[in-house]
Amino acid sequence: MASTSSHTAASYGVTHDDHHHHEPGFFQKYIFSTDHKVIGIQYGLSSLAFLFFGFLLMMAMRWQLAYPGKAIPVFGALFEKVLGTDMAQGGVMQADLYNSFGAMHGTIMVFLAIVPLAFGAFGNYVTPLQIGAPDMAFPRLNMASFHLYFLGGVVMLGSFFIPGGAAKSGWTSYSPLATLADPVNVIDGQTLWLVGMVLLITSSLLGAVNFITTIIQLRARGMTWMRLPFFVWAQFVTAFLLLLAFPPLEAAGLMQLADNVLGTSFFLPTGLVTSAGQVPVSGGGSPLLWQHLFWFLAHPEVYVLILPAMGVVSEIIANNTRKPLWGYKSMVYAAMSIGFLSFIVWAHHMYLTGMGTKVATFFQTTTMMISIPSVIILTALFISLWGGSIRFNTPMLFAVSFLPMFGIGGLTGLPLGFNASDIYLHDSYYVIGHFHYVVAPGTIFGLFAGIYYWFPKMTGRYMSETLGKIHFWGSLLGMNLVFTPMFIQGMKGMSRRMSDGGATYFGADDIALTLNKSITHAAVLLAVFQLPFIYNFFASIRNGRKAESDNPWGATTLDWATPTPPPHGNFLTEPVVYHGPYEYSAPGAKQGFVAQDRKS
């Protein structure tokens, strides 16, 4: 053991542990592992599978939007068989199926794909490495949180196959629709959605506790707060968002569960009348209460979707411009302000539920305030490009194109944030365009960049650059062709969540309907360009070009100071940090950069 008198010396002995001499079995190694890297990979593979599944759901919906009433090719017959004729009669997507797929697309993309990929996978794999820790602070809790996530996913998927089908009230699950949507079955899709959400929320809470404790307690010696890579800061703020924003939705979920199965009326007001007559509940509840509790989570949640991606992008930009991030400190403070403010802007999703001037003014003021730190982070990244020596490898291509894509998404958030313009744009395709620009070419690009970037650390091999570039250019084109036309549809007043693509409101030759078709075609194009990625991902694990060293990108942060792939316990000797995170091209540096753990 190299280090002597250190207070954590015992932690880093890889040979000193007598209990671990025997090779762990398959289950111990891959299913019940407590190693943060294995858990990270578990999260990664499951969430990529969910991402793909969420995309497939959307492809079926896009078919229906472009060709309403026409049978879905290939899958139509399958849907009819598996999900029942009332869902897909003759292979045609019925309104209920559309709503159900829509709700599940949103839920799966947000809670089962992007958050687990950004926070669960990258967070787990990279954070302990970057702060120089041997593992997470509570390894068994970490495992439990993955298992809860997985269980939640199984419950969500299972809900497709129960009578009545999966939840069909949007990912927002507004009451009273969520409660009244299926009057026949008591255990309906919504019930399983709620059970699944409670599991997922609990998983995220445990994850958040673990991350924050790890970052506070397990930083290596010398790793002061302002020497943390920006990625770690992003994860830190994200974890706080999850920790404090999720519980109110858990409470709301329990209450809606009671409304669904126990006949309470937390969210059901007095005087509900349906075609079956007066709804037999006591009434007295408040539908808006659900919305408040939901958005209290869901607005911070959108920053959960974006902050880790910003973290990844920052690492890659610093690395490939070969210079320090410009304004690192202001980025850190901006991330913290985003985190703080994101708790008090939620009602900008509720302007049109009936809001007086005072409250509306409060919420739009905070909304405008929160756009400033985003501008600060983006600006800092832009300025970081200036004076660099930019290498355009695949991770960098994805990372730099994150910037304008997030820019478009963020800028289109402004007219939604002003309540006066939201009057017209609310719940139109403009909103769909806005947030997909942030989450799809935004976050997904950031995460793709991360996959290409850390792949050599995880496997010791590069992914193919050629296939990577095909994937990049195809995705960039596809994403823009899919989402730009949505702004025009929104401007035309096309509402979201329309199972016929707006055919009830627009004449057959209206441009809004023409665009529906072109968007769908672009989505097919987008899908085709994912194939090289999927092939590249799996093929490169065994056949990719070997990485030259443990630090093939010439990076400064501690994650590259480990053997490849990092062993259990990560570091061979206790890492000690002497420098800030991005000492690229520092004057006098020998290899053009100064690693964080290099003495002097």
Partner: protein, 121 residues
């Protein structure tokens, strides 16, 4: 019972036996105060004030004092570390933000909004 004397006493540095004994006395005092607080709160219910607002204010005031005692002494929050204070500070801010803003929103609606369905008398 004292067969554990072979173990090193569990120190964490800033406590020793005397300290702890003093703490124990504090705990008993706090315990008494909590019981008294409970009795006062319940007694107030039977006294019955005219104004509901006063009743709520007093009840919540006593509850807050009790909470302060439990958190401050039993949970040692009065001598806790800075990290924990800052964590709890943001939590408390968001706790009140959630309650206050939700309540405010339900009060400030467009003029002439009625909080009932059209056909509910």
């Amino acid at each position: 019972m004292s067969d554990h004397s072979s173990h090193a006493p569990a120190h964490s540095g800033d406590h020793d036996h005397h300290d702890i004994a003093a703490h124990v006395r504090t705990y008993m005092v706090v315990f008494g105060a909590l019981l008294v607080g409970t009795v006062i709160t319940v007694g107030m219910y039977y006294v019955h004030f005219e104004s509901m607002a006063v009743t709520i204010a007093i009840a919540l005031f006593i509850a807050s004092i009790k909470a302060f005692l439990v958190a401050g002494y039993f949970m040692h929050l009065l001598s806790e570390k800075k990290v924990i204070y800052s964590m709890l500070a943001v939590t408390v801010v968001f706790f009140f933000a959630l309650g206050a803003l939700t309540l405010w929103s339900s009060n400030d609606m467009p003029r002439n909004t009625e909080t009932k369905a059209l056909y509910v008398p």
